[in-house]
């Protein structure tokens, strides 16, 4: 196979990474969407999954917090570990897993509740705050980290759905970090946003990098180049190449990666 996974030297696939995926397959009914993908995701890095649409990158991303469980016909094979523990192990508690591996979706999806309640929802179900003051603090801290606090601190009672698209998406990010996750998965978080809002989200991702392992799916290559340190290129369900973002964009080793980056397809 000419396009077996190529891994750049500077990214060492090794145990001890925050999350590791080994030989992961995903089937939707009879159709295979992801084919034997192995990858490591580490804290303090932003890892970007790029590739043309339909390449399986979003599907693969949803494996990391088992969101594919909610789709009846999806079947996941292989092994994904969080801190060395198999997340598909029957003993693994999916509720805890999703609290530790948060997710931000393509389209902003704030709950039809107040801004405050949107943030407080996660901490409340997980019992992270016992007193109102604690909750207020979590809300403030999450919104501050998401760069939203100054914009909304006077209207926390307003509905989350009444904000602009960019604000909604930052609210969703704030909502995700309110439960203090270790990994944040972002599924094309800027695809529904205008360039200015996109720039703010990208800044935010960069700010957050220090505390979390962040995985972002994008089909915008400039965005991958701007925000990520590591990039994985997917094509037709295969992981084609994985390495430092710099290296991938300047010196791709696989032909398909080069063709995609130079705009020959995709």
């Amino acid at each position: 196979m000419p396009d077996a996974t190529v891994v750049h030297d500077e990214v060492v696939m090794a145990d001890g990474a925050k999350m590791t995926a080994r030989d992961v397959d995903v089937f939707y009914g009879e159709k295979q969407a992801v084919d034997k993908v192995s990858i490591d995701v580490d804290s303090h890095y932003v890892t970007a999954f790029i590739g043309p649409s339909g390449c399986g990158k979003s599907t693969f991303l949803r494996c990391f917090n088992r969101m594919n469980d909610t789709i009846d016909i999806a079947r996941v094979g292989g092994r994904i570990e969080l801190d060395g523990k198999d997340i598909y192990d029957p003993k693994m508690d999916v509720v805890q897993l999703r609290a530790r591996v948060g997710m931000v979706f393509q389209k902003p999806n704030p709950f039809p509740k107040s801004i405050y309640e949107n943030i407080a929802y996660g901490p409340r179900i997980h019992g992270l705050a016992s007193a109102k003051a604690d909750m207020d603090e979590i809300v403030e801290r999450s919104l501050t980290r998401a760069g939203l606090w100054n914009e909304v601190k006077d209207r926390l009672d307003e509905s989350g759905t009444a904000m602009s698209g960019g604000q909604q998406q930052r609210l969703c990010i704030a909502r995700a970090i309110a439960v203090d996750p270790e990994v944040i998965l972002m599924d094309e978080p800027c695809s529904a946003l205008d360039p200015i809002a996109t720039a703010r989200i990208e800044e935010l991702i960069d700010d957050l990098r220090g505390n979390y392992a962040i995985v972002i799916v994008t089909h915008n290559m400039q965005q991958a180049a701007r925000v990520s340190q590591r990039t994985a290129f997917f094509h037709l369900g295969n992981l084609v190449e994985y390495g430092g973002t710099e290296a991938i964009f300047t010196n791709p080793r696989a032909d398909r990666t080069r063709d995609y980056i130079t705009g020959r397809f995709g």
């Binding site: 508690d93 509720v95 019992g127 604690d134 979590i138």
Partner: protein, 428 residues
Amino acid sequence: MSQSGTRKLDWQSKEMQARVRRRYVRERRFRRVGLGAVIIAASFLAFLLFTITSNGIGGFRRAELALDLNYDPAILGIQASDSSEEAAATAVSRADFRPLLASAAQAQLGDSSLVSEGAWLAVRDQVVEDPSLIGTTQRVWVVGAPNMDILAKGQVDFDLAPDRRGVSTATVAAYRTLREEGRIRLAFNSGFLTQADSTNSELAGIWGALIGSILTMAITLGISFPLGVMTAVYLEEYAPKNKLTDIIEVSINNLAAVPSIIFGLLGLAVFLNTFGMQRSAPVVGGLTLALMTLPVIVISSRVALKSVPPSIRDAALGIGASRLQVILHHLIPVALPGILTGTIIGLSRALGETAPLLLIGMRAFVSDVPEGVTEPATVLPVQIFLWSDEVGRGFVEKTSAAIMVLLTVLLSMNAVAIYLRNKFERRW
């Protein structure tokens, strides 16, 4: 909780583990409550069907007694001079069979009250059919009185004191003798399905009400189906966007939700009191129910017409078909299964409807099978309502049996609707 950004939750801590466990307990409980709700609803249905069936199954059987009847022309009052066939037939149909049965029952069973008061009707019909029976002696199974019925069906509780059983010890003794002699049997109650209402529970049948229902439904269908489809076609294909169209739409949507009894008031005030139409007649009932069914048919027909893809309409218009031709040749045939499904659902609702018909007088006691839409009649649900008011074990059984017939008809109508929907459901 730490202020620093590197705060990490300890998911392994005891409290956190306990909390997660509690959440899962709640999750399972919630799920069970949901399942419980479905089960309660389903078991209510099962309980209802079970109660009705166990009460009603007896209604399809009746006690019959064997009598040796001597069709003596003298007792029947038939003269030998009635020689012509026609005259003989008239004589038989006019003859009084009651003394014949009473004397035979008295002589052979020891008590004429063991035989149903109306048993002679069937005997007479038999002789009318075959006049050659006159002068012969035949063993005939005649309908037993209600107390024979409940004894034969084992509905008497012998644990009770004799004076609380509802049947006298003498009757019980007579019944036991008859059973030993093999002169009593439980047979299929053909009269229940072939006769009209009667004041005697053992003779009451649903045929009259069934015919009444069929006549009423024929009127309902004949009016609401064409009107409903035409309205739907107009609204979907012709109606301009204006105030009048809006009013029509609002009217239809509201009529669909108006309580059925209001239609009864309408029928009473308009059809009976203003137009002076015949009270208790299927034509009035049918008209009233047609107005009630109309919105259902309109709404489902519109949905069916809407789901016809525009490409079909465009194709037909493209080859020069006129608007009416497009509708008649293309839209209606494609939408027909949906229209029919809605019609069946609307009709089955009308068939089970009682309240509006009570107001227009279709609750009369009708012991003849109606022969036309302007004759007094009753319908199946109203018959059920009327019987439910009657006292006596016999009518409880008949009520439940009538419900079984009604439910069978309704369920099969719905099954046809579901079948149609599934068979012709097209995905474009």
